[in-house]
Amino acid sequence: MNQLLRFTTAGSVDDGKSTLIGRLLFDSKSIFEDQLEAVQASSTKKGFDYVDLSLLTDGLRSEREQGITIDVAYRYFATPKRKFIIADTPGHIQYTRNMVTGASTANLALILIDARKGLIEQTFRHSFLASLLKIPHIIVCVNKMDLVDYKEEVYEKIVEDYKAFSSKLEVHDIQFVPISALLGDNVVNRSEKMDWYQGATLLHMLETVHIESDYNHIDSRFPVQYVVRPQTRDHQDFRGYAGRVAGGIFRVGDEVLVLPSGFTSKIKTIEFGEEMLEEAFAPMSVIITLEDEIDISRGDIIAKPTNHPESNQDIELMLCWMNQRPMSLNSKYYLRHTSRETKAVLKEITYKLDISSAKKIEGVEQLGMNDIARIKLRTAQPLEFDSYRKNRITGSIILVDEGTNETVAAGMII
């Protein structure tokens, strides 16, 4: 069965990220002739003596004019083993918000390091963000090996440096691979120039990394999105709760607890279209019906009497601020969490984090674009949530500006 792997790429301006993506698409034969012809023509027009694969991924006009990527772009490719979705994000400091966006749905982060430069400030920042967003897997690509004569010592030194630094991160699965994106070494095809490297190619790693445990299958959580009531003659009394399982496993006959009401009941059916299912797990979208008639609406969460989320109006979070206008103490926002919306007020900025050095800065009263901070919010109604560490779905929130309706912050509950 073909699985889906979502990964994000983070890199600095010149470390060859776009070239690497172009190479993955090209060598896995995911590029069409007409796309390649367009890139060949652009390369010739610019006077390059090679086909610039990075042109494959640089999308919008404003970007092509500036020659940089400015937003999250999604790319797709498939091999006989897996289908891949790449969230391609730019690496500049001012684009933390884009990296956070791309990382929020990723199973895996690709981190690029220029073999000539070794670990630089951006490496720390990208890795730190991957850890903060709890991306389960990291692959560190030591790129441009061709420019250091494919020397093993150069690679080994970078691996060692990275391991020393990453012991402080909360990512447990980190792999390394020496590559040249420009020439294709160890990307899809094995390099003939690095006999000393016995490990897998990048594509092989992407195809085999173990992602079955990336979703929480322990703590049962079902946020209700919508109540389905057909009100037709055939289904007069039908009352189904539509939603996407956020964690754990639900089975027909299971005892369930509905929050915030606190009512309990049993699962009568689990339905998907015309199919009747025995069980449902994350990330399945299903309809659940219960034995008892209880008042349940959008924003409620179905869990188990023995295992349910906590309920609180005071929430501590790691927050990434994403708007031009700063966030200050006591400002109010709409808070969105699973299928729920309530109001929230910023009560405290505990500290701001310098993500390049992981230093905590206290005494801050305002957060600006791309700042990351530990904060306290108070909500208008109690929220049923888990820690982000436990569940990325029931542990995450966004804040929405009351006036402009823009999404202004992403938060991970501690």
Partner: protein, 301 residues
């Protein structure tokens, strides 16, 4: 617990259904933009699954350019009946008659760009606040950065630099009066995923997609069906070819490919082996390197 994971197709299906349900929960007057093409067909069937046993709680909206393939129209009416869903038609001919849109002239004239006017008028007249479409991010460069929930200002315009960040699976559909959203539930699907899904779910599609004999002309390398809407140059002679269509747009601009694929299995094999993108057969995308981006900004699908 290794059996607790989904195939990529089931995961995409689950994601799309989640988004369709979010639209119905977050908006008051949603609609599904139905072109008759395979992507919007998949969307219609996903909508059915999302709310079953209830009916689809929003109408299908068809922007009728008047230049559609007859096969598309026949299929549309069949599907509306099959799903028991309401149909709203916006007519480009009507927009032209009212002077809201001006017909292009010349040999390559098309009504493709005129659809934007009719679409925006239809959205406004029906007060739709969310219009779902079957666009996919793999189709075209400008779409690679499109959000699932794409905000449009009161003029229906898209601003690529001012899109709301989309995090996890939390979608922000808050808006001011007069603004609306375009929502793309199958953003993450590729052409192959769509075909595999149609096959797996045994969904009927218009006959156009299957190989058939047709009277065509070949213009600048593009195979175009003859029709009352296509003006022929003096040296163009119609010939009969065995073709099928990979997309389902207006007759005068939708190119065919030579093909013997007369079953869905054969189409899937053909798509897998194909070295050209499906939009490569669309004359409207060849009007410049950023043709799609420019049309999108002004409110195109």
């Amino acid at each position: 617990m290794s059996q607790y994971y989904l195939s990529h197709l089931r995961e995409l299906e689950s994601e799309a259904i989640y988004i369709i349900r979010e639209v119905v929960a977050q908006f008051e007057r949603p609609a599904l933009l139905f072109s008759g093409g395979k992507d919007s067909i998949v969307l219609a069937y996903l909508s059915r699954k999302a709310f079953y046993p209830a009916r689809i709680p929003f109408p299908l909206v068809h922007i009728d350019t008047g230049h559609n393939f007859p096969e598309t129209m026949e299929y549309r009416d069949w599907l509306v009946n099959e799903l028991g869903v309401r149909l709203v038609v916006g007519s480009v001919q009507e927009s032209i008659d009212k002077g809201r849109a001006k017909e292009e002239t010349g040999i390559n004239a098309s009504r493709n760009a005129l659809q934007t006017v009719t679409l925006l008028d239809t959205i406004e007249q029906n007060k739709f606040d969310a219009a779902m479409g079957g666009a996919r991010r793999d189709e075209e460069k400008a779409r690679a950065k499109e959000r699932f929930f794409s905000h449009r200002d009161e003029f229906g315009q898209w601003d690529p630099k001012n899109q709301r960040p989309e995090l996890w699976n939390i979608f922000n559909g808050r808006k001011h009066l007069g603004e609306h959203f375009r929502v793309f539930p199958i953003s993450n699907w590729t052409e192959m995923d769509v075909w595999q899904y149609l096959f797996a779910e045994n969904i009927s599609i218009p006959k156009l997609y299957y190989s058939h004999k047709r009277e065509v002309i070949v213009r600048d390398g593009t195979i175009l069906s003859t029709s009352p809407y296509l003006k022929l140059k003096s040296d163009e002679k119609p010939i009969e070819m065995t073709v099928r269509f990979r997309t389902c747009g207006d007759m005068p601009i939708t190119g065919a490919v030579e093909s013997d694929a007369d079953t869905m299995e054969k189409i899937i094999d053909e798509v897998a082996a194909s070295r050209k993108t499906e939009r490569g057969t669309r004359a409207d995308d060849k009007r410049g390197e950023t043709a799609m981006e420019d049309r999108k900004k002004s409110g195109y699908f």
